[in-house]
Symmetry: C2
Subunit: 143 residues, 2 copies
Protein backbone atom coordinates (compact mmCIF):
# COMPACT_ATOMS: atom_id res chain seq x y z
CA UNK A 1 0.00 0.00 0.00
CA UNK A 2 1.36 3.40 -0.94
CA UNK A 3 2.23 5.83 1.83
CA UNK A 4 -0.34 8.44 2.72
CA UNK A 5 1.88 11.33 1.57
CA UNK A 6 2.26 9.80 -1.88
CA UNK A 7 -1.49 9.26 -2.23
CA UNK A 8 -2.37 12.74 -0.99
CA UNK A 9 0.46 14.81 -2.45
CA UNK A 10 1.61 12.76 -5.42
CA UNK A 11 0.73 13.13 -9.08
CA UNK A 12 0.03 9.46 -9.75
CA UNK A 13 -3.58 8.39 -9.95
CA UNK A 14 -3.84 5.38 -7.65
CA UNK A 15 -7.52 5.02 -6.79
CA UNK A 16 -8.37 3.49 -3.44
CA UNK A 17 -11.08 1.04 -4.47
CA UNK A 18 -13.24 -0.33 -1.67
CA UNK A 19 -13.83 -4.01 -0.88
CA UNK A 20 -16.22 -4.18 -3.85
CA UNK A 21 -13.67 -2.59 -6.17
CA UNK A 22 -15.44 0.76 -6.36
CA UNK A 23 -14.76 4.44 -5.84
CA UNK A 24 -17.49 7.02 -5.28
CA UNK A 25 -18.28 9.25 -8.27
CA UNK A 26 -19.95 12.63 -7.85
CA UNK A 27 -21.40 14.28 -10.95
CA UNK A 28 -22.16 17.99 -10.96
CA UNK A 29 -23.47 20.18 -13.77
CA UNK A 30 -20.43 21.93 -15.26
CA UNK A 31 -22.51 25.01 -16.08
CA UNK A 32 -24.52 25.51 -12.89
CA UNK A 33 -22.57 23.55 -10.28
CA UNK A 34 -25.74 21.64 -9.35
CA UNK A 35 -25.18 18.21 -7.82
CA UNK A 36 -26.75 15.80 -10.30
CA UNK A 37 -26.01 12.31 -8.96
CA UNK A 38 -23.77 10.11 -6.86
CA UNK A 39 -22.75 6.75 -8.26
CA UNK A 40 -19.78 4.38 -8.32
CA UNK A 41 -17.01 3.45 -10.70
CA UNK A 42 -14.95 0.30 -10.82
CA UNK A 43 -11.51 0.33 -12.44
CA UNK A 44 -12.96 -0.29 -15.89
CA UNK A 45 -15.61 2.44 -15.59
CA UNK A 46 -12.98 4.88 -14.38
CA UNK A 47 -10.57 4.01 -17.19
CA UNK A 48 -13.32 4.30 -19.82
CA UNK A 49 -14.48 7.63 -18.44
CA UNK A 50 -10.93 9.00 -18.53
CA UNK A 51 -10.20 7.64 -22.00
CA UNK A 52 -13.50 8.64 -23.63
CA UNK A 53 -14.54 11.73 -21.68
CA UNK A 54 -18.01 10.14 -21.37
CA UNK A 55 -19.23 9.16 -17.91
CA UNK A 56 -19.26 5.42 -17.24
CA UNK A 57 -20.38 3.93 -13.96
CA UNK A 58 -20.69 0.53 -12.32
CA UNK A 59 -24.20 -0.30 -11.22
CA UNK A 60 -24.17 -1.94 -7.81
CA UNK A 61 -27.75 -3.17 -8.21
CA UNK A 62 -27.35 -4.52 -11.74
CA UNK A 63 -23.68 -5.49 -11.20
CA UNK A 64 -22.58 -4.21 -14.56
CA UNK A 65 -20.65 -1.47 -16.23
CA UNK A 66 -22.90 1.19 -17.63
CA UNK A 67 -22.28 4.12 -19.93
CA UNK A 68 -24.48 6.94 -18.66
CA UNK A 69 -27.21 7.54 -21.22
CA UNK A 70 -26.75 4.27 -23.11
CA UNK A 71 -30.45 3.57 -22.68
CA UNK A 72 -31.96 7.00 -22.01
CA UNK A 73 -29.75 9.00 -24.35
CA UNK A 74 -28.99 11.30 -21.42
CA UNK A 75 -25.23 11.06 -21.70
CA UNK A 76 -22.73 12.98 -19.60
CA UNK A 77 -19.74 14.58 -21.28
CA UNK A 78 -17.01 15.13 -18.74
CA UNK A 79 -15.55 18.64 -18.75
CA UNK A 80 -13.23 18.09 -15.82
CA UNK A 81 -12.42 15.23 -13.47
CA UNK A 82 -10.87 15.60 -10.05
CA UNK A 83 -9.79 13.12 -7.41
CA UNK A 84 -9.91 13.69 -3.68
CA UNK A 85 -7.12 13.62 -1.10
CA UNK A 86 -7.26 9.90 -0.29
CA UNK A 87 -8.27 8.93 -3.83
CA UNK A 88 -11.44 7.07 -2.94
CA UNK A 89 -13.74 9.54 -4.69
CA UNK A 90 -13.79 11.30 -8.04
CA UNK A 91 -15.70 14.42 -8.98
CA UNK A 92 -16.79 14.88 -12.56
CA UNK A 93 -18.13 18.17 -13.88
CA UNK A 94 -20.37 17.21 -16.77
CA UNK A 95 -22.45 18.53 -19.59
CA UNK A 96 -25.68 16.66 -18.97
CA UNK A 97 -27.23 15.52 -22.23
CA UNK A 98 -31.00 15.49 -22.42
CA UNK A 99 -33.37 16.83 -19.79
CA UNK A 100 -32.04 15.09 -16.69
CA UNK A 101 -29.69 12.74 -14.87
CA UNK A 102 -32.06 10.91 -12.53
CA UNK A 103 -33.83 7.72 -13.57
CA UNK A 104 -36.97 9.02 -11.81
CA UNK A 105 -37.24 11.76 -14.44
CA UNK A 106 -35.78 14.64 -12.47
CA UNK A 107 -32.81 16.75 -13.46
CA UNK A 108 -30.99 15.78 -10.23
CA UNK A 109 -31.36 12.77 -7.95
CA UNK A 110 -31.49 15.12 -4.94
CA UNK A 111 -35.12 16.27 -5.14
CA UNK A 112 -36.08 15.85 -1.50
CA UNK A 113 -34.96 17.92 1.48
CA UNK A 114 -34.41 16.49 4.96
CA UNK A 115 -35.67 18.88 7.66
CA UNK A 116 -33.10 19.84 10.27
CA UNK A 117 -33.41 20.33 14.01
CA UNK A 118 -35.52 17.22 14.56
CA UNK A 119 -35.07 13.89 16.29
CA UNK A 120 -36.70 10.59 15.42
CA UNK A 121 -38.65 10.08 12.23
CA UNK A 122 -38.50 12.98 9.80
CA UNK A 123 -40.71 13.88 6.84
CA UNK A 124 -39.00 14.71 3.55
CA UNK A 125 -40.05 17.75 1.54
CA UNK A 126 -39.95 17.68 -2.24
CA UNK A 127 -37.71 20.36 -3.80
CA UNK A 128 -37.03 20.99 -7.49
CA UNK A 129 -38.91 17.74 -7.97
CA UNK A 130 -40.79 18.49 -11.20
CA UNK A 131 -40.17 15.80 -13.75
CA UNK A 132 -37.97 16.84 -16.65
CA UNK A 133 -38.84 13.72 -18.60
CA UNK A 134 -41.11 10.68 -18.39
CA UNK A 135 -39.09 7.68 -17.23
CA UNK A 136 -41.76 5.26 -18.52
CA UNK A 137 -41.12 6.51 -22.04
CA UNK A 138 -37.34 6.64 -21.60
CA UNK A 139 -36.41 3.29 -20.09
CA UNK A 140 -37.35 -0.22 -21.09
CA UNK A 141 -39.98 -1.78 -18.84
CA UNK A 142 -37.61 -4.49 -17.56
CA UNK A 143 -35.29 -1.99 -15.99
CA UNK B 1 -37.28 -3.99 2.35
CA UNK B 2 -39.45 -1.10 1.25
CA UNK B 3 -40.67 -0.98 -2.33
CA UNK B 4 -38.72 1.14 -4.75
CA UNK B 5 -41.61 3.56 -5.31
CA UNK B 6 -41.90 4.24 -1.60
CA UNK B 7 -38.17 4.89 -1.28
CA UNK B 8 -38.01 7.11 -4.36
CA UNK B 9 -41.34 8.92 -4.15
CA UNK B 10 -42.21 8.77 -0.48
CA UNK B 11 -41.73 11.38 2.22
CA UNK B 12 -40.26 9.04 4.81
CA UNK B 13 -36.51 9.15 5.34
CA UNK B 14 -35.40 5.52 5.20
CA UNK B 15 -31.67 5.58 4.44
CA UNK B 16 -30.25 2.63 2.55
CA UNK B 17 -27.15 1.92 4.61
CA UNK B 18 -24.53 -0.29 2.96
CA UNK B 19 -23.05 -3.48 4.40
CA UNK B 20 -20.90 -1.34 6.71
CA UNK B 21 -23.93 0.63 7.89
CA UNK B 22 -22.99 3.78 5.97
CA UNK B 23 -24.45 6.22 3.48
CA UNK B 24 -22.34 8.54 1.34
CA UNK B 25 -22.32 12.19 2.41
CA UNK B 26 -21.44 14.98 -0.01
CA UNK B 27 -20.63 18.39 1.45
CA UNK B 28 -20.74 21.49 -0.74
CA UNK B 29 -20.18 25.12 0.19
CA UNK B 30 -23.63 26.65 0.60
CA UNK B 31 -22.39 30.03 -0.65
CA UNK B 32 -20.30 29.04 -3.68
CA UNK B 33 -21.55 25.54 -4.53
CA UNK B 34 -17.96 24.23 -4.42
CA UNK B 35 -17.62 20.53 -3.65
CA UNK B 36 -15.74 20.42 -0.35
CA UNK B 37 -15.57 16.75 0.62
CA UNK B 38 -17.07 13.31 0.36
CA UNK B 39 -17.40 11.25 3.51
CA UNK B 40 -19.74 8.76 5.14
CA UNK B 41 -22.41 8.77 7.84
CA UNK B 42 -23.70 5.90 9.91
CA UNK B 43 -27.16 6.06 11.45
CA UNK B 44 -25.86 7.90 14.51
CA UNK B 45 -23.90 10.47 12.49
CA UNK B 46 -26.93 11.10 10.29
CA UNK B 47 -29.27 11.48 13.26
CA UNK B 48 -26.86 13.85 15.03
CA UNK B 49 -26.40 15.93 11.89
CA UNK B 50 -30.16 16.25 11.43
CA UNK B 51 -30.82 17.03 15.09
CA UNK B 52 -27.97 19.50 15.60
CA UNK B 53 -27.50 21.02 12.15
CA UNK B 54 -23.76 20.39 12.56
CA UNK B 55 -22.09 17.90 10.22
CA UNK B 56 -21.16 14.59 11.84
CA UNK B 57 -19.49 11.77 9.95
CA UNK B 58 -18.30 8.24 10.56
CA UNK B 59 -14.60 7.76 9.89
CA UNK B 60 -14.00 4.50 8.07
CA UNK B 61 -10.26 4.59 8.85
CA UNK B 62 -10.61 5.48 12.51
CA UNK B 63 -13.91 3.59 12.89
CA UNK B 64 -15.53 6.26 14.98
CA UNK B 65 -18.15 8.93 14.90
CA UNK B 66 -16.69 12.35 14.33
CA UNK B 67 -18.13 15.83 14.54
CA UNK B 68 -16.54 17.80 11.73
CA UNK B 69 -14.22 20.37 13.27
CA UNK B 70 -14.07 18.80 16.71
CA UNK B 71 -10.28 18.85 16.51
CA UNK B 72 -9.55 21.48 13.87
CA UNK B 73 -12.32 23.90 14.78
CA UNK B 74 -13.37 23.84 11.13
CA UNK B 75 -16.98 22.95 11.78
CA UNK B 76 -19.69 22.67 9.13
CA UNK B 77 -23.08 24.21 9.80
CA UNK B 78 -25.68 22.55 7.62
CA UNK B 79 -27.88 24.98 5.71
CA UNK B 80 -29.80 22.33 3.80
CA UNK B 81 -29.77 18.54 3.61
CA UNK B 82 -31.09 16.52 0.73
CA UNK B 83 -31.37 12.79 0.10
CA UNK B 84 -31.11 11.12 -3.28
CA UNK B 85 -33.60 8.94 -5.13
CA UNK B 86 -32.56 5.59 -3.65
CA UNK B 87 -31.63 7.09 -0.28
CA UNK B 88 -28.05 5.85 -0.17
CA UNK B 89 -26.51 9.33 -0.34
CA UNK B 90 -27.12 12.66 1.36
CA UNK B 91 -26.06 16.07 0.18
CA UNK B 92 -25.37 18.75 2.75
CA UNK B 93 -24.91 22.39 1.83
CA UNK B 94 -22.75 23.80 4.58
CA UNK B 95 -21.22 26.95 5.95
CA UNK B 96 -17.61 25.86 6.29
CA UNK B 97 -16.10 27.21 9.48
CA UNK B 98 -12.42 28.16 9.38
CA UNK B 99 -10.26 28.21 6.27
CA UNK B 100 -10.90 24.76 4.86
CA UNK B 101 -12.51 21.34 4.92
CA UNK B 102 -9.61 19.09 3.89
CA UNK B 103 -7.24 17.59 6.45
CA UNK B 104 -4.36 18.32 4.04
CA UNK B 105 -4.91 22.04 4.58
CA UNK B 106 -6.86 22.85 1.42
CA UNK B 107 -10.29 24.38 1.22
CA UNK B 108 -11.60 21.34 -0.71
CA UNK B 109 -10.39 17.73 -0.85
CA UNK B 110 -10.57 17.87 -4.67
CA UNK B 111 -7.32 19.71 -5.43
CA UNK B 112 -6.04 17.50 -8.24
CA UNK B 113 -7.38 17.14 -11.77
CA UNK B 114 -7.34 13.89 -13.72
CA UNK B 115 -6.46 14.50 -17.38
CA UNK B 116 -8.97 13.16 -19.88
CA UNK B 117 -8.51 11.44 -23.23
CA UNK B 118 -5.72 9.17 -22.02
CA UNK B 119 -5.27 5.46 -21.46
CA UNK B 120 -2.98 3.75 -18.98
CA UNK B 121 -1.21 5.63 -16.23
CA UNK B 122 -2.19 9.28 -15.91
CA UNK B 123 -0.48 12.19 -14.21
CA UNK B 124 -2.56 14.35 -11.89
CA UNK B 125 -2.40 18.14 -12.09
CA UNK B 126 -2.75 20.26 -8.95
CA UNK B 127 -5.64 22.75 -9.10
CA UNK B 128 -6.72 25.22 -6.39
CA UNK B 129 -4.19 23.39 -4.24
CA UNK B 130 -2.76 26.25 -2.20
CA UNK B 131 -2.95 25.47 1.47
CA UNK B 132 -5.54 27.48 3.38
CA UNK B 133 -4.13 26.35 6.72
CA UNK B 134 -1.22 24.37 8.15
CA UNK B 135 -2.40 20.88 9.10
CA UNK B 136 0.65 20.34 11.33
CA UNK B 137 -0.52 23.21 13.52
CA UNK B 138 -4.18 22.21 13.35
CA UNK B 139 -4.22 18.51 14.14
CA UNK B 140 -2.60 16.56 16.94
CA UNK B 141 0.49 14.63 15.83
CA UNK B 142 -1.07 11.22 16.56
CA UNK B 143 -3.76 11.72 13.97
Amino acid sequence: MAASAEIEEGTRLQPKFDADGLVTAIATDAATGELLMVAHMNAEALAKTIASGEAHYFSRSRKKLWRKGEESGHTQRVIEMRVDCDQDAVWIKVEQGGPGACHTGRRSCFYRAVPLGQSGEVTLAFRDADRAFDPAKTYKPDR
